[in-house]
């Protein structure tokens, strides 16, 4: 009788706990808000953190598992955000300052006579939602196609992803691009008939964000535990070995890059209506680097750790930029250096080591236990 192969389940204990916490947030926050224990603004804030969590999970799939360090992931997030922002602009209709039923205010201001072709279709929600996934996916595909086929790897790839987001930022800053230039897109009124200023809509968006995190996590987890997930880790650890075993490495990298870009776009699409604005600042290289820091702090290659890192750092940023605005970047840099040196596997990695130590003290082999996780 031969031993069966070890298969990792889609949901391990940790995954189930994670989904339970998400559900508790999705339903607990509105309850606390209704009971007066949580201020109204906190609901949108939590919704925003959840979008960051999804963004971090997307980057972790790419960086933690496939070893591709993208320093431009903010670009995919921002493109998703712009796609949704364009729909919200069209939804304003004739309620804008210039009361033009077709043209958003900034176009009237620029003396444009008609809607540019790339704004066509964004009056339909389904189209905008599709574009929020499709446009980041397409950018990831085209960029990845050229980069991976030319076998650009490591630091070089990271640098060109950074250049990509920087170029997009400069482009979106220009008024002629037709995306509101410096000011971006804002003054949104409603989405699908729901008033964006009402607390009920905000609660709904926060709950949707929690759902998106859950779905994004499950998709990434399904990829990671599949045989393709093993190939992806192999590409990270020994790319040439994977090639000489007959795996077309470019294909796997492209798949992960596109999937990750689309999830980042989804996060951006949920982010825009909750913060009420999307502007070229979202493309700034500093934003993309912050995403990398979230993942590093939470723990690379864990998915859940990335989400924890994003929420911890985003919350710390909210608190600290309120108290000592000048100090934030120093604190962030300090945390990053500390984590890199003392906790290379991040918060979740430290937790894992502690649990392993506990099992070892009880005389069990922690690795055999973890294989099934």
């Amino acid at each position: 009788m031969t031993q069966a192969l070890v298969k990792r389940p889609l949901l391990n204990t940790r995954g189930i706990i994670f989904l339970c916490v998400l559900a508790a947030v999705a339903f607990g926050v509105p309850y606390l808000n209704g009971a007066g224990a949580l201020p109204d603004y906190a609901v949108s804030l939590i919704g925003k953190y959840l979008c960051f969590a999804l963004l971090a999970i997307a980057l972790d799939l790419l960086w933690g598992y496939c070893g591709i360090l993208s320093l431009g992931h903010g670009a995919f997030f921002a493109l998703g955000g712009y796609a949704m922002g364009m729909h919200l602009m069209r939804e304003i209709g004739d309620r804008g300052v210039y009361a033009n039923p077709d043209l958003p205010d900034f176009m009237v201001f620029l003396n444009w006579q008609e809607l540019p072709w790339f704004w066509w279709g964004f009056d339909m929600f389904w189209f905008a939602a599709l574009m929020a996934l499709f446009v980041p996916g397409l950018l990831a595909f085209v960029f990845g196609w050229f980069a991976f086929r030319s076998r650009v790897t490591g630091v070089y790839l990271s640098i060109i992803t950074q250049a990509m987001t920087y170029a997009l930022m400069l482009a979106f800053f220009r008024n002629e691009m037709g995306f509101g230039g410096n000011n971006g897109l804002t003054d949104f009124k409603d989405v699908l008939g729901f008033d964006l200023q009402s607390q009920d809509t905000r609660i709904g968006l926060m709950m949707l964000s929690a759902l998106a995190v859950a779905i994004g996590f499950l998709i990434c987890r399904a990829v990671v535990v599949s045989k393709a997930g093993k190939v992806i880790v192999s590409v990270r650890d020994a790319e040439s070995r994977a090639r000489f075993l007959g795996y077309r490495v470019e294909g796997y990298k492209l798949f992960v890059f596109v999937l990750s870009g689309m999830l980042a776009g989804l996060a951006g699409a949920l982010y825009t209506p909750q913060v009420g604005i999307i502007n070229p600042g979202e493309f700034s290289p500093a934003n993309s680097i912050e995403i990398v820091i979230w993942v590093a702090i939470g723990g690379r290659g864990t998915l859940i750790g990335a989400a924890i890192g994003a929420i911890l750092i985003a919350a710390a940023k909210t608190v600290l930029t309120g108290l000592y605005p000048e100090a934030w970047l120093f604190v962030l840099g300090g945390i990053f250096v500390f984590v890199t040196i003392f906790m290379p596997r991040g918060v979740l990695g430290v937790w894992d080591s502690m649990v392993d130590e506990m099992w070892r003290l009880r005389g069990m082999n922690p690795r055999e236990r973890r294989l099934k996780a």
């Binding site: 192999s234 070995r241 075993l245």
Partner: protein
Amino acid sequence: MNAPSKNIEPGSGSEHAQKPSLLALDGVTRSFDGFKAINGLTLTIEPGELRAIIGPNGAGKTTMMDIVTGKTRPDGGTVQFDGHDMTRKDEADSARLGIGRKFQKPTVFETHTVEDNLLLSLRDDRSVFGTLFSKSDPAGRIAELLALIRLEDRRLDLAADLSHGQKQWLEIGMLLAQDPKLLLVDEPAAGMTDEETARTAELLRSLAGDHAVVVVEHDMEFVRQLDCKVTVLHQGAVLAQGPLETVSANEQVVEVYLGR
């Protein structure tokens, strides 16, 4: 892909009446920045043959393997493997067509278990979506391989935790899992103890027959143990060929190899 090839049309001419060679390099050249790493190399390997390729540093051994596996494109000449033109293939193609390559430094997937290393190597669908929805469960085949490479009790250990020699064996196991027609083995005895070296020679000898095996080696003692036809490369071309005794008696070989 369907380029006319004299090798895949048996009986098309008197000179090709016999069984075609598995691998045939003809007049292959390749230079790097003006340095001719391969210079008119002509070499054939028959199916199931065991062959040792020796030569001093810079003789073009590694470049030759890069060309055969599609990693490097030759500047000129033809490379035929099993009826395919290898000058138009990449590494993944070469693996899929049946060439297994073992690196000098053992290269296994360190963060995977021994079991997963073999699972990923077995012949199966290599496409992204094929692996994404893979349902294959080749437990029996993996157990056989584990027995062959004597790693049954390390099945669930990470490859990173294996000793140097065990990693070499795991990598050989991974190549066998691909069931290749041709095995290219780069200095398998490097860093091995005498006993491991002897066992590796024995393993490679036993593999020949089912697979053609080409061993690139420095260690003459190991080549002696392989007991097979030897090809000496020098400055990117074949200098001498034949049994080890004949080759090592060749004056030119002694000159380039021992630097006299």
